[in-house]
C-alpha cells in the first residue's frame, strides 16, 4: 500500500508540474532532433555498494522514429542473493527487453531535450535459481533441506512511465517506474524463482520497480514538427494571471 501511494503521489507531482508547460504562445513549428540514445541504469550499481549481496546491471538503446515514438531494446545482468532466518536463496541470470517508447510531451514542450515516456516492453529473462538451504519447523521437528540449481525462463510485459531531462548537450538523466506482469515461466508453480532478473519477485505475477538512468544521445536527423495553437486555454490562463 505504501508503494502504491508513493507511485500515485509521484505521478501526481509529475502531472502537476506538467500542467504549467503550455502557458505561452507557441510558434507554428519547432525543430526536433531525432536521436539514438544509449543509457545505463545507475541505481543497481549504487545499491551494490550498499548491499554487496545484490548486483544488478542494466541499460538500453533507443532510436527515435519520429518526435513521439522510439524503438527500445534493453538488457542487463543480475546476481541476486537473499538470506533470512529460515532460508538462503541465489539467483543469477540475464534479461533483454524490447518495445516502444511513446513521448507524451508536446513537441514545443519537449524540444528534443525533455521526454516523458510511456514505454511498452516485452521482456525475457533466463536464470539459474538455487536454494542452498531452507529450514522448516512444525510439530514433528525441524527439517533442513535444499533445492538444487535449475535453469528457468521468465517472460513478462512491462509498462514504464519515465522522465528524462537533458542537463548537458547530448547528456540526460532521468528515471522510470516499471509495472510488470509475468506472463509465463517454465518453473513449477510451487517453486517459482524468488527473483527473476529484469522482472523482480518471481513469487508474484505482478511486480514494480524503479530505475535511474544516465543517457547519452547521438542526434542523427532533424525534423520540423507543426505546432497546434490552443487559443481557448491561453485566454483562460491570461485571466488567472490578472488576479491580485
Amino acid at each position: 500500500m505504501q508503494k502504491i501511494s508513493g507511485y500515485i503521489i509521484s505521478l501526481s507531482l509529475i502531472i502537476c508540474s506538467g500542467q504549467v508547460h503550455s502557458q505561452v504562445s507557441a510558434p507554428d513549428s519547432v525543430i526536433i532532433p531525432l536521436k539514438v540514445m544509449a543509457s545505463i541504469e545507475i541505481a543497481g550499481p549504487i545499491m551494490y555498494f550498499i548491499d554487496k549481496n545484490n548486483l544488478s546491471l542494466g541499460g538500453y538503446l533507443s532510436c527515435d522514429l519520429n518526435e513521439k515514438l522510439a524503438i527500445y531494446i534493453g538488457g542487463g545482468y543480475s546476481d541476486y542473493k537473499y538470506s533470512q532466518y529460515n532460508y538462503m536463496y541465489l539467483s543469477k541470470g540475464a534479461f533483454i527487453r524490447s518495445g516502444i517508447d511513446f513521448n507524451i510531451l508536446k513537441p514545443e514542450t519537449s524540444i528534443g531535450k525533455y521526454r516523458f515516456n510511456i514505454g511498452l516492453h516485452y521482456g525475457l529473462s533466463v536464470l539459474t535459481s538455487e536454494t542452498p538451504s531452507f529450514k522448516y519447523e512444525n510439530y514433528w521437528g525441524t527439517i533442513t533441506s535444499s533445492l538444487p540449481s535449475k535453469h528457468y525462463q521468465g517472460h513478462f510485459l512491462e509498462i514504464c512511465p519515465g522522465f528524462r531531462a537533458e542537463i548537458f548537450k547530448n547528456f540526460s538523466i532521468g528515471w522510470s517506474v516499471s509495472l510488470r506482469k509475468l506472463i509465463y515461466t517454465n518453473a513449477d508453480k510451487d517453486l517459482r524463482p524468488l527473483y527473476i532478473p529484469g522482472y523482480g519477485s518471481g513469487a508474484n505475477t505482478v511486480s514494480a520497480g524503479i530505475g535511474y538512468y544516465l543517457v547519452w544521445s547521438f542526434p542523427f536527423k532533424k525534423i520540423k514538427v507543426s505546432v497546434k495553437p490552443e487559443p481557448a486555454e491561453e485566454a483562460e490562463e491570461s485571466e488567472e494571471t490578472q488576479e491580485p
Binding site: S10, I14, S17, Y136, N138, G141, A203
Partner: protein, 180 residues
C-alpha cells in the same frame, strides 16, 4: 485559498529549466526539481521491508462429524498427539473443536496420531507425499502434501472417515471428515 499558477518568465520557452520558471502559491518552483524529487520519493517508498503475515504450515484439516446425524459436531472432549510424541499434545481435553489441524511429518511418508474423543483413544495413520513450496520472499518455504486415500485407523470411538480433498496446503480447506 485558491492556487494561482503564473509564469514569471514568458520569454523562456523551455519546459524544464534550472531557473525558477513557475510559481505555485507564490513559491518559485524549479520544475525539474519537482520531477527529479518525485523520482527520489519513489526509491524511498520502494525500500520498505515486508513481514510474513501468511500461514506457513500446511495442516491436514479434519472436521468432526456425528455419524448418526451426519452433521458437524464438536466432541465433549478432544485430545490429539503424535503416536511417537505423547508428551506434546496438540489438543488436550479441548472443547468445542469442530475442525482439527494436524501437521504431517515432512521427513517421513507416514505419521500416526492418537485422537482421544470423549475419553476413548483411537489411532489414525496417514500416508502421503511431501513437496516443498515457496510461500513468499518474506515467509520462505513450507511443505505441501498429497494425501494417500489408504488411511489406517482404529474404530473404538471413530465410526468411519471420509475424504474431501487430498491436497494439503496452507489454504483453509477441509481434507477429511471423522465420523464418531
Amino acid at each position: 485559498m485558491s492556487m494561482i499558477i503564473t509564469r514569471t518568465d514568458t520569454s523562456n520557452r523551455n519546459f524544464l529549466n534550472f531557473d525558477p520558471s513557475c510559481e505555485i502559491m507564490n513559491i518559485p518552483i524549479p520544475k525539474i526539481s519537482v520531477l527529479l524529487l518525485s523520482g527520489l520519493f519513489l526509491i524511498t517508498t520502494s525500500c520498505d521491508q515486508e513481514a510474513c503475515f501468511e500461514e506457513t504450515n500446511a495442516f491436514l484439516k479434519a472436521s468432526m462429524y456425528n455419524y448418526s446425524t451426519l452433521k458437524i459436531k464438536a466432541p465433549d472432549s478432544l485430545s490429539l498427539f503424535g503416536l511417537t510424541k505423547p508428551e506434546v499434545k496438540i489438543y488436550d481435553k479441548a472443547k468445542n473443536i469442530t475442525s482439527t489441524l494436524m501437521p504431517l511429518d515432512c521427513s517421513k511418508e507416514s505419521c500416526s496420531y492418537v485422537i482421544k474423543i470423549n475419553g476413548v483413544n483411537d489411532t489414525i495413520t496417514f500416508i502421503y507425499t511431501s513437496s516443498p513450496h515457496l510461500i513468499s520472499k518474506s515467509c520462505g518455504y513450507t511443505y505441501y502434501h498429497t494425501l494417500n486415500t489408504a488411511i489406517d485407523f482404529s474404530t473404538n470411538e471413530i465410526d468411519s472417515l471420509g475424504f474431501t480433498n487430498n491436497s494439503i496446503t496452507t489454504f483453509d480447506a477441509e481434507n477429511i471428515r471423522i465420523y464418531y
